[in-house]
């Protein structure tokens, strides 16, 4: 009896403990945890239109705050402006924009690298929206079309700038890292053509009206305006003027703003697409970048060459440029965006696409096609608004030259428009060699970042000169 009791009393605890320990190994799902409350899985984000839209809006926020299109000092408005004859650098050192100003970029330049990286990150986010929305089961077709259209538009826009500055680039259309880490570069023209294909699809998906009331998300005409630009860049002149006309014909939506001081305000009706400012009382970041109230300029100022190139009665010189003097020296600053970030109300957004460009695209396309009257009409419309007399150009060639000249004065410090114009017209060397001591023929393209070439040899060869 006693022995039996002993056996039992040993057996049970040991057995129970053994069981518990087995249990410890058995319930492996103890270590499965739910996702954190501040995060959503990739699938969940696209199950509902609100979160999917937040993912798309974040792409705009990123484009506004960093990468090629930002109005901050790292964006093209500043860097390409310094690279050509629009801006003068007041900083020194390789960690500033100075190498752009002196045309002495190297393949290890931090900005060259950072712009490449952040732009492809934005493209990744756009592709993630396209893939997520396509697979979504919780969104309506209208909602899906809206977001896919926007993402295609963004993808095309970003690639078009990348191709321009880096001289062709890979065109990324998925989020598959294995595929994307071994991609090859396409020629600039091939990239433009893929952009056009994306934009044509975007134009069919996007609605005519704006989904947001401040024109801060693209509509069909934003896609068409960009199409007009890329058709022009690729020499498809009929399509270019057709797309520009499609935009210009929307006279109810796009009303020309005659007051030069109001063109860069956020309510301007000749804006086709702009970036919403950040939270609080933020304004377009170009304001904080370019506006200074006392000399010498802290970072950057307008190149006096540009200032003196304006016709004396060009009102844009008086309204879009501001001069600062300390009594002996006078400095000029781009003054399109007049508010730096300290105003108590938000007055300006960064404008990405505006009506004037469509007039000048159509003017150029018409001139090249021989429609000289139409071309002159479009060109003079823009000139008239700047307080200038009608153009004296008569021939097609002169008209094209006049349009190019006009674009210089209309779009200065707007995302390097002049750089791309000089590039596509083959005038970079002729124009810049006399005024930029550091300019070389090979400076027509930026280098591909050294680190990218090292990690993906398929991107070779490096652009000439680097």
């Amino acid at each position: 009896m006693k022995n039996k009791l002993k056996t039992i009393s040993i057996f049970w605890p040991v057995a129970i403990w053994g069981l518990l320990l087995c249990l410890a190994t058995g319930c492996d799902n103890f270590v499965d945890v739910d996702q954190p409350n501040s995060q959503l899985t990739g699938v969940a984000v696209f199950e509902n239109n609100t979160t999917a839209t937040a993912a798309m809006k974040d792409v705009y926020a990123k484009m506004r705050d960093n990468g090629l299109l930002t109005g901050k000092s790292v964006g093209l408005s500043n860097l390409l402006g310094q690279y050509i004859d629009e801006l003068v650098c007041y900083q020194t050192g390789i960690t500033t924009a100075e190498p752009f100003y002196t045309n002495s970029l190297t393949a290890t330049n931090g900005y060259v690298q950072q712009l490449w990286n952040s732009t492809y990150n934005q493209i990744y986010s756009a592709n993630a929206v396209i893939e997520g929305v396509t697979a979504s089961t919780g969104m309506t077709t209208t909602q899906k079309n809206q977001l896919i259209g926007e993402a295609l538009f963004v993808r095309a826009l970003l690639h078009s700038y990348l191709a321009g500055v880096y001289g062709g680039c890979p065109y990324i259309t998925s989020t598959d890292y294995q595929q994307n880490s071994t991609v090859h570069r396409l020629t600039t023209m091939a990239v433009y053509n893929l952009c056009i294909a994306d934009l044509e699809e975007a134009a069919t998906l996007l609605p005519e009206s704006y989904i947001s009331y401040e024109r801060i998300r693209p509509n069909q005409y934003a896609a068409r305006a960009l199409l007009a630009r890329l058709y022009l860049y690729t020499g498809q002149l009929v399509q270019a003027s057709n797309e520009a006309s499609a935009v210009l014909n929307q006279t109810a939506m796009y009303v020309w703003e005659p007051d030069l001081d109001k063109v860069f305000l956020k309510e301007c009706t000749s804006t086709i697409w702009q970036f919403s400012a950040g939270g609080g009382y933020a304004n377009a970041q170009e304001g904080a970048l370019f506006v200074f109230n006392a000399g010498p300029p802290p970072t950057v100022a307008l190149n006096p060459l540009l200032y003196t190139a304006f016709a004396p009665n060009d009102q844009r010189k008086n309204h879009w440029i501001r001069s600062i003097t300390d009594g002996t020296t006078t400095w000029y600053q781009p003054y399109k965006y007049q508010q730096d970030n300290s105003s108590t109300t938000t007055t300006s957004y960064s404008i990405m696409l505006r009506l004037a460009e469509q007039y000048l695209i159509r003017a150029e396309a018409r001139a090249r096609q021989g429609d000289l009257i139409g071309a002159k009409e479009d060109l003079d419309f823009v000139r008239n608004n700047a307080g200038l007399s009608p153009t004296t150009a008569v021939t097609a060639t002169d008209l094209v030259t006049a349009v190019m000249e006009e674009r210089r004065f209309e779009f200065f410090t707007e995302l390097g428009m002049r750089f791309f114009d000089l590039q596509r017209s083959g005038n970079l060397d002729a124009t810049l060699t006399p005024v930029k001591p550091g300019w070389n023929t090979t400076d027509g393209l930026w280098p591909v970042p050294q680190s990218e070439l090292l990690i993906n040899p398929n991107l070779a060869p490096q652009n000439a000169g680097y």
């Binding site: 009791l5 002993k6 039992i8 009393s9 040993i10 049970w12 605890p13 040991v14 129970i16 403990w17 053994g18 518990l20 320990l21 410890a24 319930c27 492996d28 799902n29 103890f30 270590v31 499965d32 945890v33 739910d34 996702q35 954190p36 409350n37 501040s38 995060q39 959503l40 899985t41 990739g42 979160t51 993912a55 809006k57 974040d58 705009y60 926020a61 990123k62 020194t92 050192g93 290890t108 990286n117 492809y120 990150n121 990744y124 986010s125 993630a128 990324i172 989020t175 890292y177 994307n180 880490s181 071994t182 991609v183 947001s212 801060i216 919403s276 950040g278 939270g279 990218e452 090292l454």
Partner: protein, 1016 residues
């Protein structure tokens, strides 16, 4: 889904408890039976008679000795001396009493019919190897251990006037490299046990375990709010050093493999104090100390400074000083001189400690309750202080039959830290020496007509931190028949932390008339709760000359962390600054809850044959929520062996001088899961950026669910020798740890959208090293004793593999074959005599200086380090002193300054700049900043080998003198102590404290403290 799992965890917790009760009941009959048996025996013994009561006092050189076990030889009769050293025992007149106490020589006394026997015991180094070492899940006798474990006890900790126990460990243990990152109280420490294993900067912390409860070492708070501190605060600030009984550091595979995935960087086991049997003992102690900075930088005086400035303007071709060159253009007094380091960081911090404890208990139940406060003021001007209060409770109870045992320990600690938001050290080293006075004639802050920013105004910007921390643990164990013992450990931690940093409008020059609308505040709220359940079953059996010990157990751990960072600006009054509701603009940057779950199954089998041959096998299967499905579990294990060759007959006979000899070796695999939570998930998170009124959702990373544990293969061999009855005892160990499968961002082409992806890289980091410890008992007499402890570590860190390094973003950071703690630098060749500008070697000869020319490798790991401790005892006096020494490199001041000639003070060494063509100068041409060649050259100089100096040092780290006051009151013991920390420093390093790596932050202070302790 989540609910369900939490339910499961709770269920397990409850099941563990239930099982205990079940067991307790199933043994009730047995206990009863045993009790009856004992009573029966007692009656028998008493019937034999012939006994008497013997009393007496046990003392040692320091006074009375409580807790000594007194046994009647050959019987089971035993007692323990009480806290006044008194004992009482019943024995036959012809029997023999044995007095034993760990760390002391055993004393045997024949009773010889005496009724009072007083005994003086002597400390004995020879019994130290009998000391029991805590190895975490089990304990082992020091002489029988197969693993590498270093230990310090309360004796060493108590001698140091420090608030964080990590600083008490500096210099005392081989293989343990500890660097304090700031002298501001409440700051952090870098601790490296046997070097850097992981290439992730956050992946090298050891596992801290307090009384069996893992204590997360992840940073808490946010750098926005803890702006005074250069690195994250140390979690061990929440532990009161005087509550600690011992700290064991587990180093090799044999010791750490039982901690599996968390053992790669070593394990720090902290055991808190427990009560002892005997009369209730009260202890009270108080101390007061002062703290000051140890070493100032040697900076330019006004005359030297102005001469350099004037030369710089002349060099730059400027003859009319600009209006804003206040220092040279006559705006500021050219004859004024202020030692800003003295003015801004030269104060004296006052440290006050107060401690009280009560302990005692019966033979079955022991208790200890203690309370402590610590306050430290600041060396900065102004009223800033660090306050800490802690209570610690320990309770244990054993059943009559000694089978059932419960141990509870709990500690609650409150820290309240009020510091200036910016450490003034930087400004104190940069202000021009002729900068204006801090106060005007009326005693108001002097802004000198808005020509400077008064550094004292910055003190209005405060960083406040409140931390409440609770650690509690209960262990229940039950001794089963046949050598089995069941045990469960239940632990809980709760850490709550509030931090704020204010920027009130009063930091601005009043001329700007900035009101509270310009005031702002950052607030961090974070908390971390965890619970752990660890059921275990142990088994022990002796068969002939062999002994087998086995252990199996499981771990379930859950940790939930919350963190939130908020911002508010635009207040109506600065009095409302701490009220976020009063802010006209507020923003939440993040508000995160993360959960970490961890599960393991572990075991140990130990075979010992004749106490000579010992084999120890440990293993662990770990699961962590930090890895994706299918990758959560991994196995870790180690084998360790020891051979006590001094027990061999031949050795005993032929090598009599050799009192102890042991060879041990171990090999095994441990892991590392310190990568943060949720890294494997494909998720979007709130970007915090607003667009069109919506906060965006941003994809966080490239989705890689396949990454897995970092593994660390550890190999160790060691020889332990004792000579002359262990009066000389030495350990030499060699280790090689190879950490592979490195969890690191794998570099990717940016065309993928990201430049890296969390992944296991086939890179391997190797740490090898030699550790030597030596303990000698130089003199041992009744009234005089002298012992010496020495430790030395010679570590070597090496990156032995990194596929694709050259094409990765790490190519400028690492070199294969070199340490992972290196910097690639330009090689400085001197000042060009013609241009006066610093020159560097153009390594690739392309005529340009680019990052490709920065090829000189400097290793910032220590070459060797160690400590030398001496303990001298004479009658009632005891003197301890510890020297710490390190051979290493460190950045010098060049990295922290701009090119000499600019506005702002410079190290005195910049005197002697180049002036004209042909000059052979040590420093380049001075410039106000307009000479871009010189500015660029200085930028390279600061990243060249010229910016690295020998920062080896030999430091008198700690001195402690204590005196036991002869007692005239019965039962009262009084001890006076004088302690000093960081007292003397010998170093070739010129730019401040060589130990310190957070340049321009407040270095560790020199502390001198006086204290008194009463026991009754």
């Amino acid at each position: 889904m989540n609910k369900n799992r939490i339910g499961k965890g709770r269920w397990l917790f409850a099941a563990g408890l239930c099982l205990y009760f079940q067991m307790a009941f199933s043994f009730r009959d047995k206990k009863q039976e045993a009790r009856e048996k004992t009573e029966h025996n007692e009656t028998l013994r008493q019937a034999q008679g012939d006994k008497q009561q013997i009393t007496g006092t046990v003392t040692d050189s320091n006074g009375v000795l409580p807790g000594v076990t007194i046994t009647v030889k050959g019987t089971s009769t035993a007692t323990i001396s009480d806290n006044t050293g008194k004992y009482s025992i019943t024995a036959k007149t012809d029997e023999v009493l044995v007095f034993s106490y760990v760390g002391y020589k055993e004393v045997t006394v024949s009773i010889d019919s005496r009724s009072v026997i007083n005994v003086t015991m002597q400390e004995d180094s020879t019994t130290l190897k009998e000391v029991t070492i805590n190895a975490g899940y089990y304990t082992v006798k020091d002489k029988e251990r197969t693993g590498s474990i270093a230990k310090i006890t309360s004796k060493d900790i108590e001698k140091q006037p420090v608030s964080n126990v990590l600083s008490a460990m500096q210099g005392r243990m081989a293989g343990v490299d500890i660097v304090q990152t700031t002298g501001v109280p409440g700051g952090g420490f870098d601790i490296r046990i046997r070097g850097l294993n992981s290439m992730r900067s956050g992946g090298n912390a050891p596992l801290y375990v307090i009384d069996g409860v893992p204590f997360a070492s992840d940073a808490i708070g946010d750098s926005q709010t803890s702006s005074t501190l250069p690195t994250a605060t140390s979690p061990l600030n929440a532990i009161n050093p005087s509550d600690i009984e011992s700290i064991e550091i587990l180093k090799d595979a044999d010791a750490t493999a039982i901690y599996g995935s968390r053992g790669a960087n070593g394990v720090v086991l902290i055991t808190t104090k427990k009560g002892k049997a005997g009369k209730t003992q009260f202890t009270a102690s108080a101390g007061t100390g002062t703290g000051q900075i140890t070493k100032k930088l040697d900076l330019l005086n006004t005359a030297q400074y102005l001469a350099i400035r004037q030369q710089a303007f002349a060099n730059d071709g400027i003859t009319t000083y600009p209006y804003n060159a206040y220092d040279v253009n006559g705006t500021w007094d050219a004859n004024r001189y202020t030692d800003w380091q003295k003015e801004l960081t030269g104060g004296t911090a006052v440290i006050k400690t107060l401690q009280a404890s009560v302990s005692g208990g019966s033979s079955q139940t022991h208790f200890l309750v203690s309370g402590n406060t610590y306050t430290q003021s600041t060396v900065f001007p102004g009223d800033f202080d660090y306050k800490k209060g802690a209570v610690h409770v320990s309770l244990d109870h054993e059943s009559d039959d000694k089978r059932f045992k419960v141990v509870f320990s709990g500690g609650y600690d409150v820290q309240d830290n009020d510091q200036p938001a910016a450490d003034l050290t930087r400004i104190s080293r940069n202000l021009a020496p002729n900068a204006p006075a801090l106060y005007d004639a009326d005693g108001n802050l002097n802004w000198e007509n808005s020509t400077w920013e008064n550094p004292l105004a910055a003190l209005n910007s405060e960083s406040l931190a409140k931390t409440n921390s609770l650690v509690a643990n209960s262990t229940f164990s039950y001794q089963l028949p046949y050598g089995f013992m069941a045990k469960t450990s239940l632990g809980f931690t709760d850490l709550r932390h509030h931090e704020s940093r204010t920027d009130p409008s009063t930091i601005y020059d009043p001329v700007y008339e900035a009101g509270a609308e310009y005031s702002s505040i950052f607030l961090t709220t974070s908390s971390r709760q965890s619970w752990i359940v660890e059921p275990q079953l142990q088994w022990q059996r002796t068969v002939g000359k062999g002994k087998v010990t086995a252990l199996v157990g499981g771990t379930f751990q859950n940790q939930e962390s919350n963190s939130m960072l908020q911002y508010g600006s635009g207040f109506t009054s600065n009095s409302l600054l701490y009220n976020l509701a009063s802010a006209s603009f507020s923003k939440t940057f993040y508000d995160d809850v993360t959960e970490y779950r961890y599960q393991a199954f572990f075991g140990r089998v130990n075979f010992s044959w004749q106490d000579k041959y010992i084999l120890n096998l440990t293993g662990r299967r770990d699961g962590s929520s930090r890895f994706g499905p299918g990758k959560q579990f991994a196995n870790f294990g180690a084998v360790g062996a020891a051979w006590l060759f001094s027990e061999e007959k031949g050795v005993k006979e032929k090598l009599a001088f050799l009192s102890f000899g042991k060879l041990r070796a171990s090999y095994g695999i441990t892991g590392n899961d310190q990568i943060g939570d949720y890294q494997f998930l494909n998720t979007y998170q709130s970007s915090g950026t607003v667009y069109d009124g919506t906060v965006g959702l941003s994809p966080i990373r490239l989705y890689n669910p396949d990454f897995s544990w970092e593994t660390n293969k550890k190999l160790e061999a060691a020889l332990e020798l004792g000579f002359l009855k262990d009066r000389i005892f030495t350990t030499v160990s060699w280790y090689r740890n190879r950490s592979s499968n490195q969890l690191i961002g794998m570099p990717l082409a940016a065309t993928t959208g990201f430049t890296s992806m969390q992944s296991n890289l086939a890179a391997t980091v190797e740490n090898t090293g030699l550790e030597l410890t030596l303990r000698t008992v130089n003199l041992q007499k009744d009234s005089f004793g002298w012992t010496t402890n020495f430790n030395l570590t010679v570590p070597k860190n090496k990156l032995i593999a990194f596929p694709g390094l050259a094409s990765s973003t790490y190519s400028n950071q690492y070199v294969i074959g070199e340490s992972i703690n290196i910097k690639k630098l330009y090689h400085f060749t001197g000042v060009n005599p013609q241009t006066g500008v610093y020159e560097f070697e153009d390594v690739n000869g392309d005529g340009q200086l680019t990052i490709a020319d920065a090829q000189t490798v400097k290793d910032f790991s220590p070459t060797y380090y160690g400590g030398l401790q001496n303990q001298v005892r004479y009658k009632n006096f005891q003197l301890d002193f510890l020297f710490q020494f390190v051979k290493q490199l460190n950045w010098n001041a060049a990295t922290q300054y701009s090119a000499p000639g600019a506005f702002g003070n410079q190290p005195a060494s910049v005197v002697g700049g180049w002036q004209q063509a042909g000059d052979i100068a040590t420093h380049q041409i001075y410039t106000t900043g307009l000479n871009s060649d010189a500015v660029n050259a200085y930028g390279r100089y600061a990243t060249s080998d010229a910016a690295v100096s020998d920062a080896s040092y030999f430091r008198l780290k700690n001195v402690a003198l204590s005196y036991v006051v002869p007692s005239y009151v019965k039962g009262l013991q009084c001890k006076l102590t004088l302690q000093g920390q960081n007292l003397l420093l010998i170093t070739p390093y010129k730019d401040g404290d060589p130990e310190f790596r957070s340049f321009n932050y407040l270095p560790p202070l020199r502390i001198i403290s006086l204290g008194a302790e009463f026991k009754f």
